[in-house]
């Protein structure tokens, strides 16, 4: 019995070691806050499944002061070894579960956040979020994956865009869009997007 416990303990340990070994050394420093697969923790948002291009641009934004977060700014400033940075980012970019992509037009009678996401609001010049963030908010290229992101983080970011505390988007397009969103829309978008699996 005792042997069995030891054996199972060993197995667990081996599994944990194997898992840690899958994470490239260059990415280890990100894990504490962003999770071993970039899934996010109480200390930091989800980064898994985001494109390398987007993640890299964010590190540059933190370095340049276009985004503000004391800890992340310090971390970003340390990520100056570009080949090492690339290894870390490509690891996290490869994470994230595949999504069942809801296409534009699949559903018509939508309301609330889902309607904003798939149809936008013509009267306020708000394009469908889908136009850039894609089916099921999967993201790609310079656009972040929003699906499954922490709701609090999403709301915080939309507010940061509105307050001009976050920038670095191209031609201030996202800032321009966020400025038109109402308080309750931000809330419901954050809830809706974080629930997309």
């Amino acid at each position: 019995m005792r042997n069995l416990i030891i054996a199972s303990g060993l197995l667990t340990l081996m599994a944990a070691t194997a898992q840690a070994a899958d994470i490239p050394t260059e990415a280890q420093q990100c894990v504490t806050c962003h999770g071993d697969k970039g899934q996010g923790t109480a200390q930091g948002p989800m980064i898994g499944g985001m494109s390398e291009q987007y993640l890299d641009a964010q590190i540059e934004n933190f370095i340049a002061g276009r985004r503000n977060n004391t800890l992340m700014t310090l971390m970003a400033q340390s990520l100056v070894d570009l080949p090492a940075r690339k290894i870390a980012l490509s690891y996290f970019a490869a994470q994230g579960s595949p999504l069942k992509g809801q296409l534009r037009g699949d559903k018509i009678a939508l309301s609330g956040a889902e309607k904003l996401y798939y149809q936008g609001d013509l009267k306020r010049g708000l394009p469908a979020c889908y136009s850039c963030h894609g089916p099921a908010a999967v993201g790609g290229g310079s656009f972040p994956r929003l699906a499954g992101q922490q709701a609090d983080y999403l709301a915080e970011q939309l507010i940061a865009w509105r307050k001009l505390e976050r920038s670095g988007d191209h031609d201030n397009t996202m800032g321009h869009i966020a400025a038109k969103l109402k308080e309750d829309e931000i809330k419901s978008l954050a809830t809706y997007l974080s629930a997309i699996q």
């Binding site: 309301s111 394009p127 963030h133 656009f143 031609d171």
Partner: protein
């Protein structure tokens, strides 16, 4: 049913014969003069999609919307590239000065002096499939064309009814044949104060139609300057190589040139059309980002890359250029960066 068949036969008779087909196609993407931007546009807005009525008629409208925002469901059948209608007709065909369908619907049928042929609305949509979508248009009486016609009609009529305080009035149902015609016929009844007042020759001038006028600038449009503008403002969404961005294997941001974009016969291949579209609408969600000169230049850059061949091409770029592009503000048949554009075009109409 007999009447419907007779009408169909008449339509077909009008378009048969090889010569007729040639001139018919020649004009499908005829340029619509851009209009000075109206200042009082605010009031026209189509109805919310949730107000599409239940039942068979509503189903056609819904289908039209679905096709409009996800035209790729026809890829390989009627669509030969990676575009969707809503890539140019922004906000699902509802946005003023992004070629809104409500204004287009009212403008057809339209007589085209070049070919002595009256194009119905559905025939005009066929032109989009053949050129902008680099595909092969569904038949006039196909469910697809009826659906797109129904959706466009509904955008127009719902918006007009609302404009005159008739929010509770249902959009009147039309037969498939009537839907295909468009709103520029005597039988088409406009609601409220507009009834009997808008003459047929004014129906093509709804404020917001097509694209807004963008004045020519001092310098001729330059692909070379445009390349820099493209890299700075456009490449992040449409990619350095102009091929757009796919997400989860779905093209989300549209390709602007190359095999998967609009062909050399599409209206958007004209530099003036693209310049006004870009100036007025890009970047999506912000708009009017570029200076007019920059919009002209970047339009020249985008439209001086190779794209699918003009489907009317018969083996000689110079001849096609002369026959169909003589009055074009475009680069087909012209030399840019040491190449005559059109000579290395991608295949036209890749669908069977």
């Amino acid at each position: 049913m007999m009447i419907k068949k007779a009408l169909l036969a008449l339509t077909l008779l009008g378009g048969t014969g090889v010569a007729m087909a040639d001139t018919y196609f020649a004009d499908m993407q005829e340029e619509i003069p851009p209009q000075p931007k109206a200042t009082n546009l605010g009031y026209f807005a189509p109805r919310d999609l949730s107000e599409i009525p239940k039942g068979a008629f509503g189903d056609k409208i819904r289908k039209g919307y679905e096709l409009f925002v996800n035209t790729q469901q026809l890829n390989g059948r009627s669509v030969g590239n990676q575009l969707n209608c809503t890539n140019c007709h922004l906000d699902a065909g509802a946005k003023a000065y992004a070629a809104p369908m409500w204004a287009a619907y009212l403008a057809y049928p339209a007589f085209r002096k070049k070919n002595n042929h009256v194009n119905t609305f559905a025939e005009r949509v066929q032109g989009c499939f053949n050129f902008s979508m680099n595909g092969k248009a569904p038949a006039i009486d196909s469910p697809e064309l009826v659906a797109i016609s129904a959706y466009s009609y509904w955008l127009l009529m719902g918006g007009l009814l609302d404009m005159f305080g008739m929010q509770k009035t249902a959009v009147p149902e039309l037969s498939d044949t009537a839907l295909q015609q468009g709103g520029n016929i005597d039988d088409f009844k406009l609601p409220g104060p507009l009834s009997d007042k808008v003459k047929l020759d004014k129906r093509g001038q709804m404020p917001g139609r097509a694209f807004a006028k963008l004045d020519k600038t001092d310098q001729a449009p330059s692909p070379e300057r445009g390349a820099k503008i493209y890299a700075e403002h456009c490449a992040l969404c449409h990619a350095e190589d102009g091929q757009g961005i796919k997400m989860a294997d779905v093209t989300v941001l549209p390709p602007l040139w190359g095999a998967q974009s609009y062909n050399w016969g599409a209206g958007m291949h004209r530099v003036n059309t693209a310049a006004t579209f870009i100036y007025e609408n890009m970047p999506l969600g912000k708009a009017v980002q570029l200076k007019p000169q920059e919009a002209w230049d970047v339009a020249a850059y985008i439209n001086s890359r190779e794209r699918p061949q003009d489907p009317r091409f018969e083996g000689d770029v110079a001849a096609t250029a002369k026959q169909y592009h003589a009055d074009d503000d475009g680069f087909y048949g012209k030399e840019v960066e040491g190449e005559i554009l059109g000579t290395k075009a991608f295949p036209a109409t890749t669908v069977k």
